[in-house]
Symmetry: C2
Subunit: 250 residues, 2 copies
Amino acid sequence: MTPPLTSRRNPRVAAAAALHRRRERAATGRTLLEGPHLLDAAIAARIDIIEVFALEGSAPGDVPADVSIVTAPVMARIAATDHPRGPLAVIAIPEPGALRHHDTVVLWDVADPGNAGTLLRSAAAFGYDLAVTAGTVDLWDPKVLRAAAGAHFGRTLVRLGPDPLPELAAAGLAPVAAVVDGGRPPEQALAVSGPVALLVGNEPHGLPDPVIAAAPGAVTIPMPGRTESLNVAAAGAILLYERRRLRPLS
Amino acid sequence: MTPPLTSRRNPRVAAAAALHRRRERAATGRTLLEGPHLLDAAIAARIDIIEVFALEGSAPGDVPADVSIVTAPVMARIAATDHPRGPLAVIAIPEPGALRHHDTVVLWDVADPGNAGTLLRSAAAFGYDLAVTAGTVDLWDPKVLRAAAGAHFGRTLVRLGPDPLPELAAAGLAPVAAVVDGGRPPEQALAVSGPVALLVGNEPHGLPDPVIAAAPGAVTIPMPGRTESLNVAAAGAILLYERRRLRPLS
């Protein structure tokens, strides 16, 4: 049996650890995922697994890739957290998809990886495609992968260009902008019969004013409480649920 | 003018930094909050502000407490993050409240500070009280405060004892357990006319089986997608919204 990898300067270890950086992911077309649940989801979706790192005694069973046993400090170096339990897998980032004539959530300059991942998870649960503007956090950031809990794999993930509204219109999607106030109630705004593009904005700034002005179907969640707004992932989940209640998937 | 505090070993600096630890918060009855938004919310709610630390040139204007100007390294020591912008405030933790005859969200052993804070923020937005089991993350953890974005202040926050279900029943609250499958649809389970206690569980384990068995009003969000579940804060937001749609606050 091969002895465990002990050097944090091993080139493969350094290359895997570098995937926390967006530039490195873009250059290599690879990213990093952590934990048995994400690895199982990636394997089930036939994602290309490049290599796997695991702690001694906890190597995953049936992985279509080389598995290197590493020491705890090496694992911590790759994971960039204090006590990762592994396994960690380097995977090839799948090609982005194209817009379809289907309900789509659009993350418009969403900056927080946890929020982006949670929105992707909710989109998957309710049967929506997902698209992102160029200003949104990289969906293949390991932190987004963790928050989405496997929802990346086997889904349509679209990267929009510099002028997203015409692109959405060309795909036949009716834009509905989620706004903190001034929009119509969900039961009206989300009852549209054709497919919609539900636009959710940046924290804490929301959608840009020109986007709100150009998207006639603005929606506002009624809030009897006193706080100024909901978390964007909480608001998104509500709107995705409410649209599906009004317009079930056929 | 007093020169800025430069020592990371200054006793007041060390005492503030220690408030990231639950034990220290329990011993002192104090916590730490970061950023102008949270500080403004605390002041508006007449929370007892003990002292404030700010970077040179960014001291807050009208604070009912001593403000110490500190260097960036001192600020980083207190905040326990890399580039905090401040201000940081040490505040007295308000006394917990008591259960009322009013819709209440119950966090049952919710472990993640971000999820707990987001649930509190949603509870505030939709006019619910909030209660926590002893196994839930400390609501006064600075990370929970950040995620809740000011929703802590001026709200009823209840700490439940070791046997929460009888406690909820004694307050006249009908328990509704959020479960991944096997519960009734939201439109049925959440239409109860009296006040409810909406129970949301631990990530990833959910509510304990005996709790689900004892709470006759289980609710399940219908999900047409393929993922196994929603994030707990996303699921909670949906249920709080749906209950309020069916039973508006009078």
